[in-house]
């Protein structure tokens, strides 16, 4: 097998994993701490991508695009939470699923009305459009930037949660929320900020994905479902689980897609392998998830102090 191809694909897989982590981090915290199923997280990602792409195409500045994507995501998250979702925090999961399902329909249609049904493109900024050569592999700078941003966020999230006072309150809130409130902490404000941070990360993911994917209505759902798989594999409520789960899912998905047909050709007839390869590859992460759940229903890296 071609080693260069394998390394390139592994890097692609890692990059997808990092992107998934940006989404999974926000989602898993909201799940773990507010006990809230937010299916509209994918819509925040989509809106972040649209806002960033619009800002970039209007001003030609990647920094302003970042402000649009991240800031837009944060504001949208906070407004959404205050207007619609706050009343649903204490409800059962079914109501939350239903409400956020309605929001997905709303945002997809809104995006279609504002930006049209056809994909909206955002180019890779000039300064980041080159490629890096190392060990015989040529890899785009922009994708390396995504990996860098993701790793930075992962370290930042770890620091915030494990080493700061706010993180301590977040962890305490995850264990017994009302008790933290009884100790005089404004838990509502904490939840609002946390929800907003998750939304900002979704917007950041949208910003980073904009130049490598086409920005269009409905782009949030496929990645939302991957994110859900990530969280289930990693263990709900755990940042560490979100990161490791995201890398596993990204790797299995990307590497499986390219390598499985090649691998199957070694054993099977070419036509059979060509037909079965993509089918098995697209199912692979779901099979992985099923296997993880069959062995460890609480996920691979559950919260220890939760």
């Amino acid at each position: 097998m071609n080693l260069t191809l394998f390394f390139t694909q592994a890097l692609n897989g890692f990059q997808l994993g990092v992107l998934l982590f940006l989404l999974a981090a926000g989602l898993t915290l909201v799940f773990g701490i507010m006990n809230f199923v937010n299916l509209a997280h994918g819509s925040l990602y989509m809106m972040g991508a649209y806002l960033a792409a619009t800002a970039y195409n209007k001003t030609d500045s990647f920094w302003l695009a970042a402000v649009g994507g991240i800031g837009g995501g944060f504001l949208l998250g906070v407004v959404l939470q205050q207007v619609a979702l706050r009343t649903l925090f204490d409800r059962d999961h079914l109501d939350q699923v239903l409400a956020t399902f309605g929001l997905i329909l709303f945002f997809n249609e809104l995006a279609r009305m504002i930006w049209g049904a056809s994909p909206y493109y955002m180019n890779v900024p000039e300064a980041l459009s080159g490629a890096v050569e190392f060990a015989g592999i040529s890899y785009p700078v922009y994708r390396l930037l995504i990996i860098g941003v993701g790793l930075t966020v992962a370290c930042g999230a770890w620091f915030l949660i494990q080493k700061t006072r706010v993180g301590m309150l977040i962890r305490a809130g995850a264990s017994v929320g009302w008790m933290v409130g009884a100790l005089g902490v404004n838990i509502k404000l904490l939840n609002m900020v946390l929800f907003g941070l998750g939304a900002a990360l979704a917007g950041l993911a949208g910003l980073m994905a904009g130049p490598i994917l086409s920005v269009q209505a409905g782009m949030g759902e496929p990645i939302l479902i991957l994110t859900l798989v990530t969280i289930v594999i990693g263990g709900i409520g755990s940042i560490r689980g979100a990161f490791l789960g995201a890398v596993i899912v990204g790797m299995v998905d990307t590497v499986g897609r390219t390598m499985l047909p090649v691998l199957l050709r070694q054993f099977l007839d070419r036509t059979v392998a060509n037909a079965a390869g993509p089918a098995i590859a697209s199912m692979s992460i779901y099979l992985l998830m099923a296997a993880v759940l069959a062995v460890k229903p609480e996920g691979l890296f559950p919260v220890k102090n939760g």
């Binding site: 079914l94 239903l98 309605g102 329909l105 709303f106 759902e221 089918a279 697209s282 779901y286 069959a294």
Partner: protein, 316 residues
């Protein structure tokens, strides 16, 4: 005879009578389109009813129920593409597929509860969605047209009136069956498990078996709905098991009234008619429907049927 006088009984009776009168009314106003519309409503009503068994009586929030709708449709699509036209064979394949898949996914999914269960059922449905997309010889992501409807011998489904009353009879039978099921000992245990699983376990019931059985029954009924849907549209595509379809089924159940007999059918009727009306006004009808669904989730906890007082003794 509290049941006979209860408003819910009258709602069910009136709904079914109206549904029975649709073919005659459609003919009278010269709009055969209405018959197709209400056929679709009844088929989705059947699918929603099957989800209600899982969700409303079993307390299992499945976000992947459309998977079985797709299985039923693909049973028809694939077999008729391969030259098998017998409806009974289609039915047998659809049921066998539904039992097999629901046993496998149910056993794994039911190891979890709460949020994880929601996401796993969603993920399994996606898995089969992508499997259907990758079946290039059966239309891939475009889906396939079904040249010939399922051949049920004495019941030519090509005749819309025959098809209509066949579906109607099936819907009435399913309503009766689910009522009997829910009120049976099995149904009592299932509902008991929904309200407090730990207590039912302590009483010695193997709750997993009860839940799994309900899940499999729901899958089978939904697969039948999928078979009917494929015959109605003459088409089978991955879109039938898209996650949004599962979401719509949940909306139907909750809108009509979870855990009520007639709720799913009422919910399907209201939602599909609402879609029909909204589409007439604007292409962007989803921008109205989305917030309506949000409001239903926030405000209407018990659904339309739930607003009517229950007959004495609770339950239905």
């Amino acid at each position: 005879m509290a049941l006979v006088r209860s408003p819910r009984f009258w709602l069910s009776a009136v709904t079914l009578l109206l549904l029975a009168a649709v073919p005659a009314a459609a003919k009278a106003v010269g709009q055969p389109f209405y018959m197709t519309l209400f056929l679709r409503i009844m088929i989705y009503g059947l699918a929603a009813l099957s989800l209600n068994l899982v969700l409303g009586f079993g307390g299992m929030v499945s976000f992947g129920h459309a998977l079985y709708l797709g299985l039923g449709a693909y049973a028809v699509g694939i077999s008729s593409t391969l030259g098998v036209t017998s409806g009974w064979v289609h039915l047998a394949i659809a049921l066998a597929a539904a039992v097999g898949v629901s046993l496998f996914t149910g056993l794994i999914s039911l190891r979890t509860s709460g949020i994880a269960f929601i996401m796993i059922t969603l993920a399994f449905a996606q898995m089969f969605f992508f499997l259907a997309v990758s079946l290039k010889q059966f239309g891939g992501d475009e889906g396939m047209t079904i040249a010939q409807p399922s051949d049920f011998g004495l019941l030519p489904l090509g005749n819309k009136v025959v098809f209509y009353y066949a579906v109607f009879a099936l819907l009435v039978a399913a309503l009766y069956g689910s009522r009997r099921l829910v009120e049976s000992r099995f149904g009592m245990v299932l509902r008991g498990t929904m309200s407090n699983e730990r207590r039912m376990k302590a009483l010695g019931f193997p709750t997993l078996r009860y839940r799994l059985t309900a899940y499999v029954i729901g899958a089978c009924v939904c697969a039948v709905a999928g078979l009917l849907l494929a015959n109605l549209t003459g088409f089978a595509s991955p879109d039938y098991m898209a996650w949004s379809r599962s979401g719509e089924l949940i909306v139907m159940v909750v809108l009509g009234g979870m855990g009520t007999l007639m709720g799913p059918v009422v919910g399907a009727t209201v939602l599909l008619l609402l879609e029909e009306v909204l589409t007439a006004f604007t292409d962007h009808w989803m921008i109205v429907l989305g917030p309506i669904i949000l409001l239903i989730a926030v405000l209407a906890k018990r659904g339309i049927v739930g607003l009517l007082p229950a007959p004495r003794g609770g339950g239905e």
